[in-house]
């Protein structure tokens, strides 16, 4: 069977992590053992709620530093970049959901109980929408590093979680943005589940253009979603 379906998307590239990566212990009992069944892209995979993010999730919340009475503590940052596809084409008017720990590395979550302070002025959740050129920008504080139980003396590097719907079910992406020159990245099993050099796609760049004088450090982070594909689907390929 050979199906050529208009509107298909490209498949995973070599930079995607495997489902099973034993250094990240939780993957051992939560990853499938059977091979994934490869399927062609039907309407189910090539459509999505792209036009409906505001009705689903609500309007933009691009400033994570003004959600409460006072300003959160920590290093104020601006994160901006573009959402594009693999051909470099912008993905306009798409939602990027973000969440992160506070400056001390503590999440506002009942199950995060490590001994670092909560900040009453910081939730750490937001939502930003790309403009017509695919650009986005949000304001936050730099998250702290965070200990976890994966192995002895394990610490996650500072990171911001980002979640994108993109134009279709097939373009869904959840990633993490890391900060340049963070020595913890080298020893982090979650980041290193992505083979080099592709791991570096998740490392943002400090940028003086994005940095606002007397106000906030700027980091640039572009996000690349799957591009369109015209390869016929061969059953069993």
């Amino acid at each position: 069977m050979s199906l050529i379906l208009p509107g298909s998307y490209r498949r995973e590239d070599a930079g995607q992590p495997p489902s099973l990566y034993p250094d990240y212990g939780s993957t051992v009992s939560r990853s499938p053992r059977e091979p994934l069944v490869r399927i062609p892209h039907t309407l189910t995979e090539t459509t999505g709620p792209a036009n409906a993010w505001s009705r689903l999730m609500g309007e933009s919340m691009a400033d994570l530093t003004t959600q409460h009475k006072g300003e959160p503590l920590g290093q104020r940052i601006v994160v901006s970049g573009r959402v594009v596809d693999e051909d470099g084409r912008p993905v306009p008017h798409t939602v990027v959901e973000v969440w992160q720990a506070n400056a001390a590395g503590r999440y506002i979550h009942k199950k995060d109980q490590w001994d670092a302070p909560l900040d009453p002025n910081f939730t750490g959740a937001g939502r930003v929408i790309t403009d017509a050129e695919g650009r986005y920008r949000f304001i936050s504080v730099r998250p702290g590093a965070y200990p976890w139980r994966n192995h002895k003396n394990a610490w996650r590097p500072s990171h911001i979680h980002l979640s994108l719907l993109g134009p279709a079910f097939a373009t869904r992406l959840v990633t993490q943005m890391y900060f340049p020159d963070d020595p913890l990245i080298e020893i982090d099993p979650i980041a290193n589940a992505v083979p080099m050099p592709f791991r570096q796609r998740m490392v943002s760049r400090f940028d003086l253009e994005t940095t606002e004088p007397n106000w906030a450090l700027g980091y640039v982070f572009d996000i690349v979603l799957r591009g369109r594909d015209a390869t016929p689907f061969e059953n069993g390929q």
């Binding site: 590239d13 930079g15 995607q16 992590p17 489902s19 990566y21 990240y24 212990g25 051992v28 009992s29 939560r30 499938p32 053992r33 059977e34 069944v37 490869r38 399927i39 039907t42 309407l43 189910t44 459509t47 999505g48 709620p49 792209a50 409906a52 993010w53 009705r55 689903l56 999730m57 409460h68 693999e86 470099g88 959901e97 720990a101 506002i108 979550h109 995060d112 009453p120 939730t123 959740a125 979680h161 979640s163 079910f169 869904r172 959840v174 993490q176 340049p180 979650i190 980041a191 589940a193 050099p197 592709f198 570096q200 796609r201 998740m202 490392v203 572009d222 690349v224 979603l225 059953n235």
Partner: protein, 220 residues
């Protein structure tokens, strides 16, 4: 050597054109609840608050959406629910399930009508996800009605993708995608009607990540 020459070469990062390509997947981790699953996110047809776990954060830190009226929605309301289960048979209380589906007439609305077709549900402490939605229609010949599912969570570096079909639907026998699944594993993609709640049929679809009865996951 001048100081200029002594400076180490900058490390490769996100902006380097030499490594341009798909941004890699990473896990949502265990603490996504205050950032992703909103109240009502699992109710695609009404205004109930199912989907979120607001008890996992102080009330003043719930900043996500609240349910809003959806407008006119035609079709049969159903409950789709199930457990997310790991290799040891343990339920997973820190997973998130997303669905994407056609409306009762088999159309993907893409947000243009009252029924959007996208939902998000956290799993409960008992590992249960739960949606109120429409029973979808078939999107065309050779396609049986189904709901596309994405599973996220701690330990899931990438989303796992599966589909729920409906037990007893004659179209299952000629579905082009089910046809690609080894016959002995197709059962794992079939939701079963287990009861009724407030006039809505309850369909059960457990998601077994690994081991005996492992759900079929798709490479899309």
């Amino acid at each position: 050597m001048t100081p200029e020459q002594a400076r180490p070469a900058p490390r490769q990062d996100n902006q380097d054109p030499a490594i341009f390509g798909q941004t890699p997947w990473q896990t949502v981790g265990p603490f996504f609840h205050y950032g992703l699953p909103w109240k009502g996110g699992a109710d695609l047809v009404g205004t109930s608050e199912i989907g979120a776990r607001p008890e996992l954060m102080p009330p003043e830190h719930y900043v996500l959406a609240s349910p809003s009226p959806k407008g006119e929605i035609a079709g049969e309301t159903i409950i789709l629910e199930g457990a997310v289960i790991d290799a040891d048979g343990q339920v997973i209380p820190d997973a998130m399930v997303e669905i994407w589906q056609a409306d009762a007439a088999g159309r993907y609305a893409e947000g243009n009508t009252g029924f959007i077709g996208f939902g998000r549900s956290s799993t409960s402490e008992d590992g249960i996800y739960r949606f109120r939605t429409l029973r979808p229609g078939a999107i065309g010949d050779g396609h049986a009605p189904h709901i596309a599912i994405g599973v996220f969570g701690r330990g899931l570096l990438k989303r796992l993708v599966t589909r729920a079909y409906f037990e007893g639907d004659d179209a299952n026998a000629s579905d082009a995608i089910l046809d690609l699944v080894p016959a002995q594993r197709r059962d794992t993609l079939i939701a079963r009607r287990v009861g009724e709640e407030d006039g809505a049929a309850v369909w059960r679809f457990d998601i077994i990540l690994q081991g005996e009865g492992e759900t079929v996951f798709f490479d899309i």
